[in-house]
Amino acid sequence: MIRTSLLALVALALALGTALAQMRAPPASEAACEEPTLRCATKVTPAFGPDGTLWLVWMAGGQISVASSQDTGRSFSPPTQVTTKRLNLDWGPDARPKIVVDRKGGIALAFSIFRDEAFNGQVLYTRSADGGKSFAELKPITANNESQRFEALALDQDGTVLAAWLDKRNRVSAKEAGRKYEGAALFFASSRDGGATYAEARLAHEGTCECCRLGLAFAAPGRPAVIFRNIFEGGVRDHAVMTFTAVSTPGEIRRVSNDDWQINACPHHGPSLTIGPNGTYHVAWYTNGKTRKGLFYAHSRDEGRTFSVPIALGRLDRSPTRPFVLSAPAGTVMVWKEFDGEKTSVQMTISRDDGQTWSPPKAIASTSDTSDHPLLVSNDKQTYLSWMTKADGYRLTAIEDQP
């Protein structure tokens, strides 16, 4: 008797389980669910358009989608699916889809997929010329088929889109020559048609760390700057900045700080760069070097030639991670995550004197389950925290004025 009723209940449980499994992701997943909807997203990237529209691009259920909001995130348009099928999207901790929206409302996107079982990557791009209603067929950003990951996009004043990424193509020639190849290389390509097509990819710098996000911004028209985790002599993975002398002309690399993190590993933890209207570079990064450990901020007022003494961010006993810095008219804002053993909070600090002094850190959001990196996005009037969380969904939170 017990056995029979047990089996019936088991059958019912199985049927229910199957139905639920179609909607919910397994508990081990970083996603709340497996649909391509915003609620199920693990990575969400924001951008404001010139008309004040907020655009989001996200990865969820193996697909990339885009939607817009006219009321700063309270409601969203029906999403447009950019991908036509489920892809093996790059789910590395520092990977995320990228978006820029130009003055005409054109939307350029880029993201990475794993293209083989060895986890070699491929950067794909597309563009919408009809206000996000449809996107062009996805194309690889370079014909080279070795491995590319961690792309970044930035928009110049004249509408040029610059893409930069980490590329392992040169390991082939190194191997053939019997040379050891460490890390990856920084490659770039520019687009003069708003991200519809890109020029041939070019090398900017060889010997970068291979698994951390880049930071990319324009220092001045035609002068992009990129921050990346470099591999310095002796296998030291500290940060470097390169300011291009023209969109197609890489410049010298400058060391941000001498943290002395000698490690042969994937830190999975890349830097952040923003450049103020007066040309100040603000950078934030993570290191676990001999000289310093944790999150740090520094600024440069000479295009990255020299940087201020690094300032530590966050509480070391709360595992501060994922710093992001953004310069906006109301001030330069930094956010990062801290974890207290149960909850993750987003800490915020603001500087109104171009990075000279910073307000005391303040928790502006928290969640009790896994979460995306905290990002900042700004329109002309206001800076917002953009944060995807598994438990509480997507949030766009205005950064309040600090006393």
Binding site: A28, E117, S319, K337, F339, T370
Partner: protein
């Protein structure tokens, strides 16, 4: 009734586990509390715990060397933990372990979406960089090697473990 529900619960756990790890039953799920279980389970013995991931370049180079070390040192308990952030690749994980000669060691794979919490339990200072090796002496002293370990250092540590007794 209690028996009945317990039975269903167990079955559901089994079904869930089979779905998640069907391709590689040898991989154990690493979840909240697993770390303390590993520590307790190997108490009094020298243990090498290796954190790695299938997408990590330096890990791919180190793993076969570790496989050889495990083979050469049967008196050291070798434990591996696949610590990639999205633990949805048990087949790739198992395949790399097999190729590295680590099929028969105690192998875990992260199985909790809240990886910050998992890492915090292991070491609050760990931000997720891999590879990472923790050497636990008989007396419980933990030595952490960030990045690829030098096999010579592992040999030295191993020798120390047995020279004390």
């Amino acid at each position: 009734m209690r028996f009945r529900f317990a039975g269903i619960a167990s079955l559901n756990v089994l079904i869930a586990s089979a779905a998640a790890f069907g391709a590689s039953p040898a991989l154990k799920p690493f979840e909240r509390g697993t770390w303390q279980g590993v520590i307790r389970g190997h108490a009094g013995r020298p243990v090498l715990v290796h954190f790695w991931g299938v997408t990590c370049g330096p890990c791919k180079v180190e793993l076969p060397l570790l496989g050889q070390f495990a083979k050469d040192h049967p008196d050291i308990d070798v434990v591996t933990v696949s610590a990639d952030l999205v633990p949805n690749l048990p087949a790739a994980t198992q395949s790399m372990l097999d190729k590295a000669g680590l099929s028969s060691t105690e192998n875990f794979i992260f199985n909790d979406g809240f990886v910050e919490r998992l890492r915090f339990e292991i070491d609050p200072a760990w931000q997720g960089d891999i590879p990472r090796t923790m050497l636990i002496s008989r007396d419980g002293t933990i030595t952490t090697i960030e990045g690829s370990a030098e096999i010579a250092d592992l040999e030295k540590w191993s020798a120390q473990q047995f020279s004390k007794h």
